[in-house]
C-alpha cells in the first residue's frame, strides 16, 4: 500500500472523527445547553464537509500516482 492509499484511509478516519465530534458536541449541547458545545457541533459538521471536499481534491490531484 502506497502513501496515497494510506492517506485515503487516513482521510476516511478523519471524516469518521469529525462526524463523531459533531454528534458528541451536539449531545453535550443537549445536556448542558452550552452555546460553546453548539458552536463546536457546527464547526465539526462544517469540518466534515471540508474533509469530504479535500478527499475529492486529493484524488483528483494525485490521479496519476499509483496506489501500490
Amino acid at each position: 500500500m502506497s502513501l496515497k492509499a494510506f492517506h485515503i484511509v487516513f482521510v476516511l478516519a478523519t471524516l469518521a472523527l469529525t462526524l463523531f465530534l459533531t454528534v458528541w458536541a451536539y449531545q453535550e449541547f443537549a445536556r448542558t445547553q452550552s452555546s460553546n458545545h453548539l458552536t463546536a457541533a457546527i464547526c465539526a459538521a462544517v469540518t466534515s464537509l471540508m474533509v469530504l471536499v479535500y478527499g475529492r481534491f486529493f484524488l483528483k490531484k494525485l490521479k496519476h500516482i499509483s496506489y501500490q
Binding site: 502513501l3 494510506f6 478516519a13
Partner: protein
C-alpha cells in the same frame, strides 16, 4: 556494496524493500498500541462506578492538537507528491510545514503535561478531621502552599477512603461541598505545611487513568519526536540525495510519510477515547 531493491520492487513481494520493512514495523506498532488500548478499556471497565474522570483533559487544546496533526498529514503527503512531480522547492515547503506542525503539537502537549503535573491532591489533618483539597499549585514556601481549586478532579482511592468521593454522603458531603464552593468562587486555598498528611500531583502514579493517559500519550509523543527527527534529517543533510538518486530519495520520503500517517492515525483514535468519552 549496493543495497538491492531500494528503488525497484522485488518480484516476490511486489514492493521495494524499505516499504515492506516499514509495513512490518507498523504491524508491530499496531500490536503495541492495540495492547495499550486494551489496557485502557480494561482499566475503565474495572473502575469503581463514578470514579473514572470526565472533563479532566482540556478538549479545546486536544482538538487543536488533532487539527495540527491532520494538517501535518496533508503536508507530508503533499511533500511526497511534490517529489513525484519533480518539484523539489515545493517539497521543501511542505516538509518544513510538517516539521513546524510536529513542533506545535509537542509544545501544546507539554502545556497539557505541565497542567497535570502542577495539579495536586492534598490531604490535611486538623485536629481529628481530615480534609482533601484539590487544585493547581500556584505558590509554595517552607510554611505553606497555595492551591487554585480545579473545576475537574479525580477521585482517588485515598480521597474516597477519607469520605471525599463522587457520591458525597453525610458529614463528608458537607466538607466536599465546601471544597466545591471554593472551586466555584475561584478562591485560592492556603494550606499550612504542618497540617499536610499527604500531597501528590496528578502524575502517572496518582490514578490508573493518569497512568494510562501518560503511557499512551507519552509513547505517542515519542513517536512524534522520532518521526520529526527523521524528517528533519531529510529536510537538512539527507536532502542532498535528491541530486544523486532522486527515486530513492522519493521512496525515503514515502516511508517517513507512512510512519507519520500511522502516528497521526493513532492520535485520531486516542483523542476521542481520552478526551471525549
Amino acid at each position: 556494496m549496493e543495497i538491492p531493491y531500494t528503488v525497484n520492487a522485488r518480484k516476490d513481494t511486489g514492493l521495494y524493500n524499505a516499504k515492506l520493512g516499514i509495513w512490518l514495523f507498523l504491524a508491530s506498532e499496531v500490536m503495541l498500541f492495540g495492547a495499550l488500548f486494551s489496557a485502557y478499556i480494561l482499566l475503565r471497565v474495572g473502575a469503581t462506578p463514578g470514579t473514572w474522570p470526565h472533563g479532566l483533559l482540556n478538549v479545546p487544546l486536544g482538538t487543536l492538537n488533532t487539527i495540527v496533526l491532520i494538517v501535518s498529514s496533508v503536508t507530508v503527503v503533499m511533500a511526497w507528491a511534490s517529489l513525484k512531480m519533480k518539484q523539489f522547492g515545493k517539497w521543501r515547503m511542505y516538509q518544513g510545514a510538517t516539521l513546524v506542525c510536529a513542533l506545535i503539537f509537542l509544545v501544546i502537549k507539554s502545556f497539557e503535561y505541565n497542567d497535570k503535573l502542577t495539579h495536586y491532591e492534598v490531604v490535611t489533618k486538623e485536629g481529628d478531621k481530615f480534609h482533601v483539597y484539590d487544585g493547581h499549585l500556584v505558590q509554595e514556601d517552607k510554611d505553606k502552599i497555595v492551591l487554585h481549586p480545579s473545576a475537574h478532579r479525580l477521585y482517588t482511592a485515598r480521597a474516597i477512603a477519607y469520605g471525599f468521593g463522587p457520591e458525597p454522603a453525610g458529614a463528608h458531603a458537607a466538607a466536599d461541598h465546601g471544597a466545591k464552593e471554593h472551586s466555584d468562587k475561584h478562591e485560592l486555598i492556603t494550606i499550612q505545611r504542618s497540617t499536610i498528611e499527604h500531597m501528590e500531583n496528578y502524575g502517572p502514579k496518582h490514578h490508573a487513568y493518569l497512568a494510562i493517559y501518560f503511557t499512551l500519550t507519552g509513547l505517542h509523543a515519542l513517536h512524534v519526536i522520532g518521526g520529526a527527527i527523521v524528517m528533519a534529517f531529510f529536510f537538512g543533510p539527507g536532502a542532498k540525495m535528491w541530486k544523486t538518486n532522486p527515486e530513492q530519495f522519493t521512496n525515503r520520503i514515502e516511508i517517513s510519510g507512512l510512519f507519520w500517517h500511522f502516528v497521526d492515525l493513532v492520535w485520531i483514535f486516542l483523542f476521542p477515547v481520552l478526551y471525549l468519552l
